[in-house]
């Protein structure tokens, strides 16, 4: 029905007649499926070297140099790739204690990270310590619910960032965990924490409706799920309470999901929630394939996890 309406509307206009240059070939080219790859890490916690062979849980796993190889291989395979981090880049090995996050940011820049959000441990050297390391990061930070207006980070952290890859518009926003009771006030200073779910509802609507993004991603450091405290904001709650998010990349709870969780949003549509534990032991990979909307309406959307 919709398609017929569309035909009728089009025939009523005269503009198409003058656009005779388009051929069947260009038609084929335009419908070739577009493919965006999202790679993500969270809670790497300064784990730059791989775990030792005798480590009880993650022997011989992780390591920035290996991660860099994997990322380069995937980028070669699909240049339309975005590399994201969901926070807690800092703290966990002497690399942080000695260099304050310099090496973490420099290595992430060499791996060409595109965007990150801020975790509670990223305040461990104070908001000034984080600010001091920003020149070492060639990527930006987003947070939609931390208000940095009265801090040194003012104007350095935006609520969201939009990327265009192969004509696909990708809007990515960040969310941070409640700092009070978790981080010393002397560390985060005048940072204001706003409700992450309300912030997400607001920003995801802007990204979908005003910015007309084809893909909306949330980089979240609020935690996957709190079974014993169901009122606490979490990625699963966030997925259910919003309607414009396609993918939530989580962190904070160090949840090693074997595969992304598929949750239903407030409109009953599927949202992917993923989190890859901690320490760079895993990299998450989510591939999005695009087609003309009418084909998707006709054929439906498939999710393979």
């Amino acid at each position: 029905m919709k398609r017929r309406d569309f035909i009728q509307n089009s025939l009523a206009t005269s503009a198409f007649v003058t656009l005779g240059g388009l051929s069947l070939q260009s038609f084929t080219a335009n419908t070739a499926k577009k493919h965006i790859t999202i790679l993500h890490t969270n809670d790497v916690h300064s784990h730059i070297d791989p775990f030792g062979a005798n480590h009880p849980r993650n022997p011989n796993q992780g390591g920035a140099a290996r991660r860099a190889s994997l990322i380069a291989n995937i980028r070669k395979e699909n240049p339309n790739t975005l590399l994201l981090d969901a926070g807690d880049i800092f703290q966990g090995t002497p690399y942080f204690n000695y260099y304050g996050g310099e090496l973490e940011f420099k290595l992430m820049s060499m791996m060409k990270y595109d965007l990150a959000t801020i975790g509670n441990h990223d305040f461990d050297n104070g908001i000034d310590g984080l600010f001091a390391q920003l020149p070492n990061a060639n990527f930006e930070f987003v947070s939609a619910n931390y208000d940095f207006k009265n801090t040194v980070l003012d104007t350095h952290v935006k609520p969201y960032k939009i990327f265009v890859k192969d004509g696909i518009k990708i809007g990515i926003f960040g969310l941070g965990v409640k700092l009070g009771g978790l981080v010393d006030k002397r560390m985060y200073k005048e940072t204001v924490y706003n409700d992450p779910i309300e912030s997400a509802q607001d920003i995801s609507r802007i990204l979908k409706e005003e910015e007309k993004c084809d893909l909306v991603i949330c980089l979240s450091h609020i935690g996957y799920n709190y079974k014993r405290n169901p009122e606490r904001p979490s990625d699963l709650k966030l997925a259910r309470a919003t309607k414009d998010i396609d993918l939530i990349i989580g962190g904070h709870t160090h949840t090693f999901l074997q595969k992304p969780t598929i949750e239903k949003n407030s409109k009953g549509e599927s949202v992917l929630v993923n989190q890859v534990g901690a320490y760079g032991v895993y990299v998450g990979r989510v591939d999005f394939y695009f087609d003309d909307e009418k084909n998707v309406i006709a054929n439906g959307k498939s999710i393979i996890v």
């Binding site: 038609f27 499926k33 140099a65 991660r67 190889s69 009771g181 993923n274 591939d287 999005f288």
Partner: protein, 249 residues
């Protein structure tokens, strides 16, 4: 008719080229980072000097431990706990005195905050990182006598070897406090006492609520781990003793 078909072809071409893109398929998975991946040499070379500098520092011998010291080698006091409380107090004293003109009466830390033992033999920088991996920082809270009594009651009730210094506590067999002395003297009503502790505990960690609203609070900007390292550098052999500062009789 032919004209209509031609028009339709053109139309389809245009409509397709302008068609909004929508997600048709999503695939999601995780990829393990293990030794099946070759390390990127450029990254490896970049890390190397940072790693070597840390290793060199971590392996520096600072002092010597006469025996194994761990947080379960006594009942209500332990050798490592006594060492930690004594060194945090002695390292903080000159900083606090210079800033406020006052002395520190008591040190209180938490048993759970000691994350590793100190093995007999050479003490390296690494030892301090193992024992205290957190960024906990030193603060001095000035407490009322009432809150010092609350502290003693907390210690008696917790029945754990929370490290203390400057304070001696004796409990009877029913865990009732029979004696509590600050620097050898009974706690005097109306007096205030300065307690050096960690920012974590002062902020309500381990439910030490008596630290939460002190009369005055001085943030020393001195990490516990750095106090350990500074202290180890000044002593040839560290003391490893139980001295009856917190006992049940």
């Amino acid at each position: 008719m032919r004209k209509i078909i031609a028009l339709l072809v053109v139309f389809i071409a245009i409509s397709c080229s302008q068609e909004k893109q929508s997600i048709s398929k999503i695939e999601g998975k995780r990829i393990n980072i293990n030794d099946s991946l070759t390390a990127n040499q450029e990254i490896e070379d970049f890390i190397k000097p940072f790693r070597e500098r840390i290793e060199e520092d971590m392996n520096k011998v600072l002092s010597y431990a006469p025996k194994d010291m761990h947080k379960n080698d006594g009942e209500l006091e332990t050798t490592i706990g006594n060492l930690m409380a004594d060194l945090v107090k002695s390292q903080s004293e000159p900083v606090y005195k210079k800033r406020t003109g006052k002395s520190i009466d008591i040190c209180l830390l938490n048993h759970g905050g000691i994350r590793a033992p100190i093995p007999a033999g050479p003490i390296k920088t690494r030892t301090a990182f193992n024992v205290m991996p957190f960024e906990n920082s030193i603060v001095v809270a000035e407490l009322t006598a009432e809150n010092v009594h609350n502290m003693v009651a907390y210690l008696a009730k917790a029945k754990r070897a929370h490290p203390i210094s400057g304070l001696t506590v004796k409990l009877d067999k029913d865990l009732k406090v029979t004696e509590a002395l600050v620097n050898g003297k009974p706690i005097e009503d109306g007096k205030t006492y300065t307690v050096v502790t960690s920012d974590y505990l002062q902020n309500g960690g381990d439910r030490m609520n008596f630290l939460k609203n002190p009369e005055t609070l001085e943030v020393l900007d001195y990490k516990i781990r750095n106090a350990m390292i500074d202290y180890f550098k000044t002593v040839d052999t560290i003391p490893a003793q139980l001295d009856g500062r917190f006992i049940q009789q």
